[in-house]
Amino acid sequence: MINVQNLFKIFHKDGMDVQILNNITLDIKEGEFVSIMAPSGMGKSTLLNILGCLDKPTSGTYILDGEPVQDLDDDELSRIRNSKIGYVFQSFHLLPRMTAWENVILPLIYSDDDSDMREKANEVLQSVGLQDRVNHLPRELSGGQQQRVAIARALINNPKIIFADEPTGNLDSKSSAEVMNIFRNLHSQGRTLIVVTHDPNVGAQADRIIEMKDGQICDDRWTKLSS
């Protein structure tokens, strides 16, 4: 599903080159539940943005679901983000003036899917347990509920892969548990999940834990859950 070879990412900052990703090579199969762990500032988000087709590496190859991402133009990357990828952010990133269902349908706006958006929104909101919050604005929802709306949004185009960047970073432990529970469910349905976190408790719930240090992968192990 994901195949990354010799990936580098270099930022130019104050006239200096800062090497954030330093020769990353990585292979993730369809249906895996992977957590990427590192302390803050170590380049987790940078890596996830590249994997999520929001950013491009400085060099290296990246094959996503058979498509050579490094060769694609901006429009094709947009199409991939729309159809193959669901993204979940730490700070939810919901549109504040739109209701839960209106936020959830955003990916549908830009897809070629002409089916009933409202109906699809109801379905995915139900699958994250928010069927009675459909018409609520984000500010009328708790943090956990907002993140579940964001997950519903990530799911509405039925993507193969979900990327989550510190999805529990802004949540209390109860909401975190709910969100991780949803992720485990998605995993059991066969979806590929890649979760970035610096929280060991969250990371431990994945099947496979990749640890990063100084822009490189320093550990890649399977947890007992996977067996």
């Binding site: 947009s78 993204y87 897809s111």
Partner: protein, 402 residues
């Protein structure tokens, strides 16, 4: 369809920011309102000119006695233009189909029983009604034998009918015209006021022979209306008429014409000169306010693009292409200016209707100016929106989502 879904998003965003949307509209509203009013009044003036030219006749020329005269402006009539001039124009110039010599005189006293009034007296040939495109709804026009026998018959205008006859049928009645008894044989179709403010319905038409011998006792005439066969040879024909008359009047080379030739082109030029400077000034004002409207829209759009960075980032992250973002912002600016155009256009129409009632101004059709103005508004929205929309489309999603 995607474009419909994106339009719905754009409308949603405008609805969520009503004050912003209204501010964006304001300049367009003002610009379009003035533009609608002006275009309507320009069209009105033009249609007035056209109807004046049409009344004159596109295939007609008028020769007036005297040099440097303007139609409708009274001056003492020189005595050099004769009825024989008219006959010779008809017989000697091949492109001339018909001529109508006539005498015009204002303020002629007219009397029926004990009622008095004043008329514009026209002494003319039998073809007058046809050449001036005038129907005779009641009675008839005079005929050739009445002209040759110098009969005292008259066809009178509606105003005279109203003033003198008080509901009675005028046809067959005796009136006194400049101390001569005349029999009313017909009534002229109602024509209203002339462009120079003359009441065309106070005219009375009598045979030219009767007018010359029995009323005025003169051998000269006021003007000759000429109908040409081929409108394309108008210029040549005008020249032929000029040469013929100079020859007949024995004018040596270098001596000024003792007549004036009026053509439809001249009428058009005279009529459209009025108020065109003022219109240009007003059109300039409305263009300036449309320009200001465009600048306002562009600036508010730029601010809005900056404020909505996160929103743009989210949309990009879930799969909007640059083009989708561009389209969505353009839809917003065009919709805002389009709505501004509708509101402005309707205000313009209300202004037009008010002005035409209050100031008796003449306005043209309302649909054309409305369409022109709204098209301008849409253009303003496109032009003003394109740069902000481009900026929005180049927002870096990662930067925006930090």
């Amino acid at each position: 369809m995607k474009i419909i879904r994106m339009s719905a998003q754009a409308f949603r965003s405008m609805r969520d920011n009503k004050v912003r949307s209204f501010l964006m509209m304001l300049g367009v509203i003002i610009g379009v309102a003035t533009l609608t009013t002006i275009v309507s009044s320009v069209l009105g003036a033009r249609s007035q000119v056209m109807s004046r030219v049409e009344r004159f006749g596109l295939d007609q020329i008028m020769v007036m006695a005297g040099a440097g005269r303007k139609p409708g402006v009274p001056q003492p009539t020189p005595t050099t233009l004769k009825i024989e001039d008219a006959n010779s124009i008809l017989s000697e110039i091949s492109n001339v189909k018909d001529v109508c010599p006539q005498i015009n005189r204002r303020d002629i006293p007219i009397k029926y029983q004990n009622k008095n009034s004043y008329a514009i007296l026209i002494a003319a040939n039998t073809n007058w009604a046809e050449i001036w495109n005038t129907q005779i709804p009641n009675g008839r026009f005079f005929n050739d034998s009445e002209v040759s026998r110098l009969n005292r018959v008259a066809v009178i205008g509606q105003s005279l009918v109203n003033e003198l006859f008080d509901g009675e049928d005028p046809v067959g009645k005796q009136i006194i015209l400049a101390n001569n008894p005349f029999e009313v044989i017909g009534v002229l179709e109602k024509k209203g006021a002339s462009p120079t403010g003359l009441d065309l319905d106070s005219r009375i038409v009598v045979p030219i022979s009767t007018g010359m011998k029995r009323v005025f006792n003169q051998d000269y005439i006021t003007n000759i209306k000429i109908v040409v066969s081929d409108v394309n040879q108008m210029t040549d024909t005008v020249n032929d008429v000029k040469m013929l008359l100079r020859e007949r009047h024995n004018l040596a080379p270098g001596v000024e014409d003792d007549f004036t030739i009026v053509t439809p082109t001249l009428i058009m030029a005279l009529a459209s000169k009025v108020s065109s400077t003022f219109n240009i000034f007003l059109i300039l004002i409305s263009l300036v306010s449309l320009f200001v409207g465009a600048v306002v829209i562009a600036n508010i759009m730029f601010i809005s693009v900056n404020e909505r960075k996160a929103e743009i980032g989210i949309r990009r992250a879930v799969g909007a292409t640059r083009n989708d973002i561009l389209t969505q912002f353009l839809i917003e600016s065009v919709t805002v200016s389009f709505l501004g155009g509708i509101i402005g256009g309707l205000s313009g129409i209300v202004t037009v209707i008010l002005l035409s009632h209050l100031m008796k101004m003449h306005f043209g059709a309302l649909a054309t100016p409305l369409v022109i103005s709204i098209a301008c508004a849409i253009l303003v929205g496109l032009v003003a929106g394109i740069q902000p929309a481009r900026k929005a489309s180049y927002t870096d999603p990662i930067e925006a989502l930090k």
